[in-house]
Symmetry: C2
Subunit: 425 residues, 2 copies
Amino acid sequence: MSATPSLDLPKYCQQTAEAAKAASYQLASLDTSVKNSWLIGSADALVAAAEQIMEANQRDLAAAPQYGLTSAAIDRLRLDTSRIGAIATGLREIAMLPDPVGEVLDGFTRPGGLQIQKKRVPLGVVFFIYESRPNVTADAAGICVKSGNAVILRGGKEAIHSSQAIVNILAETATQFGIPPTAVQLVGTTDRAAVGHFLGLHELIDVTIPRGGESLIRRVATEATMPVIKHYDGNCHVYVDEWADLSMAVDIIENSKCQRMGVCNACESLLIHAEVAEKVVPLISERLASHKVEIRADQRALAFLPDAVTATDEDWSAEYLGPTISLAIVDSVEQAAKHINQHGSHHTDAIITNNLRSANAFTTLVDSSAVMVNASTRFNDGGVFGLGAEIGISTDKFHARGPCGLRELTTYKYIVQGSGQIRQS
Amino acid sequence: MSATPSLDLPKYCQQTAEAAKAASYQLASLDTSVKNSWLIGSADALVAAAEQIMEANQRDLAAAPQYGLTSAAIDRLRLDTSRIGAIATGLREIAMLPDPVGEVLDGFTRPGGLQIQKKRVPLGVVFFIYESRPNVTADAAGICVKSGNAVILRGGKEAIHSSQAIVNILAETATQFGIPPTAVQLVGTTDRAAVGHFLGLHELIDVTIPRGGESLIRRVATEATMPVIKHYDGNCHVYVDEWADLSMAVDIIENSKCQRMGVCNACESLLIHAEVAEKVVPLISERLASHKVEIRADQRALAFLPDAVTATDEDWSAEYLGPTISLAIVDSVEQAAKHINQHGSHHTDAIITNNLRSANAFTTLVDSSAVMVNASTRFNDGGVFGLGAEIGISTDKFHARGPCGLRELTTYKYIVQGSGQIRQS
């Protein structure tokens, strides 16, 4: 389970990835009902093995102080029957989602009689790197296998015994349903060098998905030789238009910033149209003050916020993930969009307006994964969007943008059927 | 036009990319009719400026010997009124293709009343690196702008005067139609270091598309800090099944291998089912011999090809792009698929069979961008697939697979319309 001096790490990683690749070819042609039976069977098996999982979890909890976990982190690590029940429910929910594999995205017959289909197929092998939450282990495995992919799971070392217990049960259940048990593998060593080895195996691993702090994601993006779906934090904006319902604006700003400050779709910066600034800025300030949020304001906004801190250039791109927010005055929706495209992180941005032209200009010009009109930035989420389970929120534009569910773990292939056609020119 | 000692290269690249990014925000909201008017207007302007373009082309032709171009390469470089007419026709054809931008890919109303649309939008800025063919300059510019993207063109130095003349006309026409002229920019220096600078600008450039030799593509894939659509050559297979029409098999093999040997969808390897080997291998050998193609055969095939060269392990992954082909005997469609997935390049592979089970097994198991049943591998092509113009054929699975047309140069964003909704949990 943990690194042993005798482990040949490059060989171990190579063999793990080869096993995943071999499994992926079998997974690609599995009937949906088999995958769903595995999901539901795994849910039942996890509940039945709750004692065994909690025992493994005890070993993680006992080791937690040596990793210096905070009490909040230790709480997230703890499994009880209710939490194991929630993990099982998550798998049952994935079983209910439509299977993306096999969907015909396009199809036509060409002059000469070639029949062409563009068909959705799995990506192949997913290397998933994630934080120390044992529930994510089951969730990620469920999403990957349902979309026809094999997965190599690299969870945080603090949860390795819990994750291994869960993966053992998922793999045993797989065997029962004729699914290769190597469809779901947990990296069985906590050696950090293992990640580097996997990131070099682009012929075996089709995509890497890192979740965690920005430094981890940057390291993975730099080292990976295969595509990476990146999941950075967001510098999300709320823009209060000249034609906004100001009371709605204050409510949405409060919700976007304060409902959960540490998440990627929390608001970090406010842009206020000059025409309404005098009226709305004091209301916003008062509401945010009730949550102890400090405002860093530009020169023009300071006129309405005499006690606020002056914003520096760094504030416009800052992702505070805490009780601080920046605020600037703008003169038009175009100027707001320009500011957001320049300083934002292309994650989630909202406009508050009752004017259709402003709404259209904002949604067209702002280059972000989700653009909200009169709604909280907190709604950028796979569950809210009806995608069902998600494996992350992509901050890239390439391949997948925003919440990544089952479909985002697929690609397509062209299937061309002929009757002996050869090409003449 | 060419490198001058006084050029501040990093600054030049930064400014070029910034101008492209600024143009891309305008392009994203352009009406289709404006883009089409630009395409048709540019076609007319190119024809009208034929003399001027041919003059620039003369300068490239005069310099060709100093670059050591072959006579075939010099011929590809040469522009006359007929070729300029063909370039213009290419732009008019792009005008006739449907505009992918603005397509609503999905849309629904969620509980609570949020109205969500998933809408197709341009990627932003494309950095396109290509060989010395002036017609590609206009074609790539047309594809990028039609799909709402700004493009930075880095053509081969051997064609720089011709390309610059073409780009000048495209940019002048853009201004006439209210399109920013920096929507289409040619890198104005032949300094190789410019490519490296552009590859570092991931905040301004959304995707890089290199076309050319494998070493160029590998260099770009390694150095690029943004996503890359790779366009490697293909190690394409034809598998002759137990249930094949053998005469069709020989015709398709001849076409796949010999119609154009130097292209990425030419066949490089043959797999023959053991049951039909004795009958079909001599026929294939005879047909290929008429094109002077040498066969490298595995041990079992040598029984039917006494004079053939024995294949080495390297032959199974080789992309000859010339008059050589490898040939192996297999015992099942599954074994053929396994060989292809292990040694192939995931580009284009064909099965010849009249058996439905074999066809389904092959198309499901073979992990390639296009899988052909009873048709030549040469049909993997954007024009053949009805995509219209293509900017390359992706050998990746991520984002785009196979021919990359207008749609493959887009991404999507979620547009969420509410009426004051805030998130409760």
